[in-house]
């Protein structure tokens, strides 16, 4: 029943490695982009605040498939913007990361903003009284405390991101979901076994993430 695993015809590990790479690059990117968005949303400049709010509300509510397909069909196929050269494989990979970062950044932003709200106002007021600028207050006083409060929600975002990478299959990035489609096309007699293998693969990817970061969250949380 599982002979498709040993036939050597499919590189299951390789496909999951692409999934892991997609996840890691997108996680790093969306952490940075989410931080910037959160900074904008709490900044004293009205224009930045309204941009942050508008971006988060629009992108968060746009289906991810639409974003990623838009990156590929719109940017690449129609406008010819390929994010540096390379073949379709690399272009697709980068465009998928762009889409994932644009989307996941909004969730990171909102998680961080909720963390900022857990920091007592007195902290920011005291920092301002010392003569620190907005940027210094945010990066030195507020964000370090906010971060420790939002490890758990960010873990959820990371796990969701891991699973969302399967959407990259729509633009032909050779990750796990794409390989699954190939296997379903060929292995008509072992549908459930194929599904089982890929479900297990994702559990193996996300379960340790959740357990590990859950421990970290417990350890670093600020007890108030």
């Amino acid at each position: 029943m599982f002979d498709f695993l040993t036939s050597g015809q499919y590189d299951v590990l390789g496909a999951f490695w692409v999934t892991v790479q997609l996840t890691l690059y997108s996680a790093a990117g969306s952490l940075i982009w989410g931080l910037m968005l959160a900074g904008m949303r709490v900044s004293p400049v009205p224009l930045m605040r309204s941009f942050g709010t508008a971006y988060v509300n629009i992108v968060r509510n746009t289906p991810l498939t639409l974003l990623i397909l838009g990156c590929s069909l719109g940017l690449d196929q129609t406008l010819g913007i390929t994010l540096a050269g390379g073949d379709s494989k690399e272009i697709g990979f980068r465009l998928a990361i762009l889409g994932l970062v644009a989307y996941t950044g909004t969730f990171v932003c909102e998680a961080l903003r909720s963390g900022i709200n857990t920091v007592p106002v007195g902290q920011a007021e005291a920092a301002r009284a010392l003569g620190l600028s907005f940027f210094q207050v945010l990066t030195l006083i507020v964000l370090p405390q906010a971060f420790r409060a939002v490890i758990a929600p960010l873990t959820n975002v990371l796990i969701a991101l891991t699973k969302n990478t399967t959407v990259a299959a729509t633009i032909g990035v050779a990750e796990a979901a794409l390989l699954m489609k190939e296997m379903l096309e060929n292995e008509a007699d072992a549908l459930f076994a194929v599904f089982g293998v890929f479900a297990l693969g994702f559990v193996l990817l996300t379960l340790p993430t959740g357990l590990l970061l859950g421990q970290v969250a417990k350890r670093v949380a600020v007890k108030r």
Binding site: Q77, T78, A169, G172, L178, M180, M183, D189
Partner: protein, 282 residues
């Protein structure tokens, strides 16, 4: 409290509408049962809904294409009039399960006969022999053999047999892009983001012949693989298999087969193979 009330009202509304539709569905199928009791029942046939020239659901809810013509002819031979046929969408990944679960009696949906599939379903036919081919821009003459593909940008459907053929056999170095459907590939082909779109020639012909694509694309005419299309049916149903085979044979002999080929593939200038020998179930 107000919010809670509104929520509760909404929930009640949803539940009511659900039960209402459930009732509707129930009475609907009961109605079908009623007509069946009147002496006539229906046959459910799985086809593709999104492939021009083969199986296409048109905006007015009708069905058109070569697969549809074959299905209609076979159903007629089995004793069902066209108005007794219910077409159901059979996307590639679900075809085996639709048959195995008894949701459809037959699947006529560009269904290539192969051994893995035969482990789960039986086939009648083949009724058509297609080849993997390329669709290129009308003014492009640079692709004449499979090796030429290694320097080209190709497009196909995610996970399809054609895409896998390119990766493993035909042109491993080709720059292959995979999309969920052929329409996305056509966008790229038109904008010169890709050089060719590859899948079975019969399917490509359908796209080339579409009104909005007339004159823009052409088939390269390469025979990159053999794809004998069969009619899928429940495993072990020898009686049905024999009947369907007989129907296909008759369709070829009385000229209806050729007529269907000409009507559906003619406009694209697609050179269809002559009717294949029936190999299954004999």
């Amino acid at each position: 409290m107000k919010l809670f009330k509104a929520g509760a009202a909404a929930a009640v509304a949803v539940v009511l509408s659900l039960t209402a539709t459930a009732c509707g569905g129930g009475s609907g199928s009961a109605g079908d049962g009623g007509t069946a009791g009147g002496g006539k029942d229906k046959i459910v046939i799985g086809i593709k809904f999104d492939q021009p020239g083969l199986g296409l659901k048109t905006p007015d809810g009708k069905f058109a294409g070569f697969d549809v013509d074959v299905a209609t002819y076979v159903a007629k031979e089995l004793g069902y009039q066209p108005d007794q046929i219910e077409f159901k969408q059979a996307v590639s990944a679900e075809r085996e399960n639709l048959i195995a679960n008894g949701d459809v009696k037959l699947v006529v949906a560009t269904y290539t006969i192969n051994d893995k599939r035969k482990a789960k379903v039986d086939f009648a036919g083949p009724y058509f022999l297609a080849h993997q081919d390329l669709l290129v821009r009308a003014d492009d003459n640079s692709i004449t053999k499979a090796e030429d593909l290694n320097k080209k940008k190709l497009c196909s459907v995610t996970g399809s047999t054609s895409a896998q053929n390119v990766k493993t056999k035909l042109a491993p170095e080709a720059d292959l892009r995979e999309y969920p459907g052929y329409s996305e590939c056509l966008t790229g082909l038109e904008n010169k983001a890709v050089d060719a779109l590859t899948t079975d020639g019969s399917i490509l012909a359908g796209y080339a012949a579409q009104e909005k694509n007339k004159g823009k694309f052409k088939l390269a005419g390469l025979k990159l693989s053999d794809e004998p299309y069969g009619i899928g049916l429940k495993k072990g149903d020898k009686e049905l298999q024999t009947k369907v085979n007989a129907a296909l044979k008759k369709m070829v002999e009385d000229g209806s087969w050729q007529k269907a080929v000409d009507a559906n593939f003619g406009p694209a200038g697609y050179q269809a193979e002559p009717a294949p020998q029936i190999t299954e179930g004999s």
